[in-house]
C-alpha cells in the first residue's frame, strides 16, 4: 500500500507539480528532458546489465539506429512522428540481432565488442551518404506534432512525451523482472551453471533481453531526433549516450528498478544546475570525482544506500 502511494505521489509530482512549477521555464524543462532521455537509456542499459549480466559499452549504437530510423521514416516515407518513433525502436531491436554473436562473450569482452559495433554503425552512417546524407547529417527533422490542441513539439510537450516513455520503459523492465524468465536471468548473473540445471536456455533469454533493451534505447534515440530536430553520425552515435547512461545507472544503483532513473536525474541535474554554476567550464571534473567516490563508498549505488539508511533510521525509531 505504501508502495503504491509513493508511486502515485511520484507520478503526480512528475505530471503535475513539475510542469506547474517550471512549465514556463524552457531552460529548466529542456535540461529535465535531457536528463530523462539519459534516464531512459540508463534503464534499458541496466536491464541488460542486471538481467543478462551483460555490461554494454555500445548502447549508442541502438540510440543512433533508432534516431536515424525514425528520422528517415518521417522525412522520406512521410510517416507521422509518433508511429515513426515506435518504428525507430523496432529498427533498433531488429539491428540488435546483428550484434548477437557477441552474446557468447563475457565481461569486458562483451562490453568492448558492443563498442566496436557502435563505432562501425557510426562509420556506416557517414559512408552511406545516399541514405543518411553522410556527415552532413539531417537538419529540420519533423517535430513532435500537435495533438488535440496540445503542442508536443514544445519543450513542455517533449517533457510529457519523454516522461511517459521513461515510465513505460520502467514498466516493461518491471514486467520482465517479475516473470519467471526474469528471475532465471537474475540468477544467471550469479551462476550460469545453476540456470542450466534448472533448464533455462540462457542464450535465448539473453538474446531476448538484448532485443528489448535495444528497442527501448532506440525509442529514446528516435524521440531525441524529433525533439532536437537534427542528427549527424557523430552526434547520434556519440559514446556519451552510453557513458552518461552507465554513469547514471551505476550512480543510482543498476540492480534496482528506479536506480537508473534517479541516478540520471540526480547526476544530470546536479551537474547542470550546481556544478556548472560553481565551475563553468571544468565541472565534469567534479562529475568524474563523484563517480569514483560512489564506487568506493557505496558500490551498489545511491538508492540502495539511501534505502538502507532509511531502514536503519526507521529501525532505530521503532526500537529506541
Amino acid at each position: 500500500m505504501m508502495k503504491y502511494l509513493s508511486l502515485i505521489i511520484i507520478l503526480a509530482g512528475a505530471y503535475l507539480a513539475v510542469p506547474l512549477q517550471f512549465g514556463g521555464n524552457d531552460y529548466v524543462i529542456g535540461i529535465v528532458v535531457s536528463a530523462l532521455t539519459i534516464a531512459g537509456i540508463a534503464v534499458a542499459w541496466a536491464m541488460l546489465g542486471n538481467l543478462g549480466g551483460m555490461i554494454s559499452f555500445g548502447h549508442s549504437a541502438f540510440f543512433g539506429v533508432g534516431a536515424y530510423g525514425s528520422a528517415l521514416l518521417a522525412m522520406n516515407a512521410g510517416l507521422p512522428v509518433f508511429p515513426s518513433i515506435l518504428a525507430g525502436g523496432v529498427i533498433a531491436g531488429v539491428v540488435s540481432i546483428l550484434t548477437m554473436p557477441t552474446l557468447r562473450l563475457r565481461g569486458p569482452y562483451f562490453a568492448l565488442a558492443m563498442l566496436a559495433f557502435a563505432e562501425i554503425f557510426r562509420i556506416l552512417a557517414i559512408e552511406m551518404r545516399w541514405l543518411t546524407n553522410g556527415s552532413g547529417g539531417l537538419l529540420s527533422i519533423p517535430r513532435l506534432p500537435t495533438v488535440f490542441g496540445f503542442d508536443f513539439g514544445s519543450r513542455l510537450g517533449g517533457y510529457f512525451v519523454v516522461l511517459t516513455l521513461v515510465l513505460l520503459t520502467v514498466f516493461v523492465y518491471w514486467l520482465i523482472r517479475n516473470r519467471p524468465e526474469g528471475l532465471a536471468l537474475r540468477a544467471m548473473h550469479d551462476s550460469e551453471d545453476a540456470t542450466l540445471v534448472v533448464g533455462v536456455n540462457a542464450t535465448r533469454l539473453k538474446a531476448a533481453v538484448l532485443v528489448v533493451s535495444a528497442f527501448l534505447t532506440g525509442i529514446m534515440g528516435a524521440f531525441n531526433a524529433h525533439y532536437i530536430n537534427f542528427l549527424e553520425p557523430d552526434y547520434a552515435f556519440n559514446g556519451s549516450w552510453t557513458t552518461l547512461a552507465i554513469v547514471a545507472a551505476i550512480f543510482g544503483g543498476y540492480k534496482t528498478l528506479w536506480g537508473p532513473v534517479a541516478g540520471a536525474l540526480i547526476v544530470y541535474l546536479v551537474d547542470q544546475f550546481v556544478f556548472k554554476a560553481i565551475m563553468p567550464s571544468g565541472h565534469q571534473l567534479i562529475l568524474g570525482g563523484l563517480l569514483a567516490a560512489i564506487v568506493i563508498f557505496s558500490p551498489s549505488g545511491l538508492l540502495p544506500w539511501l534505502a538502507s539508511r532509511f531502514r536503519k533510521e526507521a529501525g532505530d525509531a521503532a526500537h529506541p
Partner: protein, 385 residues
C-alpha cells in the same frame, strides 16, 4: 525538504540576470570544453574584445556578455540558449560546428531572438527559413577562395584531402564541384578524424595522383599530420593549400618548420598591417586583453560580436527590441568590418563573404589573393618540403 533545496538552488543559478537600465545583455553560447573547445576559446576571445571595444567606444550603452559553455554538445547548446534567455539575453552569439549551431539557432528562433555566428559553414543552416539566424561565414566563401587562388596560379590537378566531419566534407564537396566544372582533375581522399598517420594517403598522392597542388580541408591537427607526412614523402606538387585555422600566426609559432609557403584562408595579414582606425583599435584591445597577436577565430568572434552589439543597441534605441528590430538592423545595411563588407540576405547569410588567401612567408602571413587586398606576391611554385 529536497524540493526546497532544489528550488533554492534553481533560484540561485537562474536568478542572476536582472538587467541594468542601459546595460544590454548578450548571451554567448560557446564550446569551452569538449571536441570544439579549441575553436570555441578562440572565438570567445574575439567576442570579449568586441565587448570591451564596444563599451569603451559606444558611449551610450554598455553590453554585458554572459557566456555558457555548451560542452560541444547540441542538447547542452540548446539548454544554454534557453538559460541565457532566462537570464535576460537580448540576442545570442557564439556557436561552433554546424551540428551545434543548427539546434541552438532553432531554439533562438523559437524565442524570437537573433542568433549570430561565424562557426558553422553548412549550406543547409541558412536554408531552414529562419528569420533570426545570421552568420558571417559560409562554406561557399572558403571554397571560392581556394578555387580563386588556384585559378590565379593556373593549377590544373588537385588531390583533395578532407576530414569526414560535416563542415569539412561540405567545403570539400563544393570545391570538387567548382574544380570539376572548370575541367580540372580532382582526386578525393576523405579521412576519419581519428587518423594520425597520413603517410599512406600522401604516398598514394605522390605515386598515383601526381597532382599540381594538394588541398586540405580539416583542422589544425590534421594539417600538421598531413604536412608532416608530405615532408617525409616529398610529393612533387607545386603548392599546398588549406582552409581555416591554417594561415595563422599561431600555426607558424607552433610549427615553423611545417608552415613555410603553405596557403590558407585568412581575413587579415600578419604581422597585422592595421591601416584603418578600427583595425588598430581591435589589435590593441586584443593584445591588451589576451597578451598575444589576434588570430582568425578571434577576428571572426570580434566581427560577429560587434555586429550584434551595434544592432541590439540600435533596436534598443528605436524601442523595437521585441518587434524584430535587431534582425532589421542587421539586414538593412552594409556593414564595414575587419573582414570586409558584410551584407546579410533574407536567409541570414553574408552574401559578401569571400575569404582571402594568405601564405606563410618566413614568419609572416601574407595575403596573396585576391589581388586588390594582396600584401605580397605569392611564392610559386613553393612547398614546405
Amino acid at each position: 525538504m529536497i524540493a526546497r533545496m532544489i528550488s533554492s538552488v534553481l533560484a540561485l543559478t537562474l536568478g542572476l540576470g536582472a538587467a541594468n537600465a542601459d546595460e544590454l545583455i548578450i548571451g554567448s553560447q560557446i564550446p569551452l570544453t569538449g571536441s570544439a573547445a579549441r575553436a570555441g576559446m578562440g572565438m570567445n576571445e574575439g567576442i570579449q574584445v568586441a565587448a570591451k571595444v564596444f563599451n569603451e567606444t559606444n558611449g551610450k550603452h554598455t553590453v554585458k556578455v554572459i557566456t555558457i559553455d555548451d560542452e560541444s554538445q547540441p542538447a547542452k547548446a540548446v539548454a544554454a540558449i534557453e538559460r541565457l534567455n532566462a537570464q535576460g539575453a537580448l540576442a545570442f552569439t557564439g556557436g561552433y560546428g554546424s551540428n551545434i549551431i543548427g539546434p541552438a539557432s532553432d531554439a533562438a528562433e523559437r524565442l524570437g531572438k537573433v542568433y549570430m555566428t561565424s562557426g558553422g559553414v553548412a549550406t543547409e543552416l541558412s536554408q531552414r527559413g529562419l528569420k533570426t539566424f545570421f552568420r558571417i561565414s559560409n562554406a561557399t566563401g572558403y571554397a571560392k577562395a581556394l578555387a580563386g587562388l588556384s585559378d590565379t596560379l593556373d593549377l590544373q590537378s588537385f588531390s583533395l584531402i578532407y576530414s569526414t566531419r560535416e563542415s569539412t566534407a561540405e567545403v570539400a564537396k563544393l570545391l570538387e564541384e567548382i574544380w570539376t566544372a572548370e575541367g580540372k582533375k580532382v582526386t578525393l581522399h576523405p579521412f576519419d578524424p581519428s587518423i594520425a598517420d597520413f603517410k599512406p594517403v600522401l604516398h598514394k598522392i605522390k605515386l598515383q595522383d601526381r597532382p599540381e597542388a594538394i588541398a586540405m580541408v580539416g583542422y589544425e591537427n590534421d594539417y600538421v599530420g598531413i604536412i608532416r607526412a608530405a615532408k617525409v614523402l616529398k610529393p612533387d606538387a607545386k603548392a599546398i593549400m588549406g582552409t581555416w585555422s591554417l594561415a595563422t600566426p599561431k600555426m607558424w609559432q607552433d610549427f615553423p618548420d611545417l608552415m613555410n609557403n603553405v596557403y590558407g584562408t585568412a581575413p587579415l595579414p600578419y604581422p597585422a598591417q592595421f591601416n584603418t582606425p578600427e583595425e588598430q583599435t581591435f589589435a590593441e584591445a586584443y593584445k591588451e586583453m589576451h597578451n598575444k597577436e589576434p588570430d582568425y577565430l578571434g577576428i571572426f568572434g570580434y566581427v560577429q560580436g560587434l555586429l550584434l552589439f551595434n544592432a541590439v543597441a540600435e533596436a534598443y534605441d528605436a524601442g523595437t527590441l521585441n518587434s524584430g528590430g535587431v534582425q532589421d538592423a542587421l539586414r538593412k545595411t552594409e556593414h564595414d568590418t575587419l573582414i570586409g563588407k558584410v551584407i546579410f540576405d533574407e536567409s541570414g547569410d553574408n552574401t559578401n563573404f569571400a575569404h582571402r588567401m594568405a601564405q606563410h612567408q618566413d614568419g609572416a602571413v601574407a595575403i596573396v589573393w585576391p589581388k586588390e587586398s594582396a600584401t605580397a606576391e605569392a611564392r610559386f611554385p613553393a612547398v614546405p618540403w
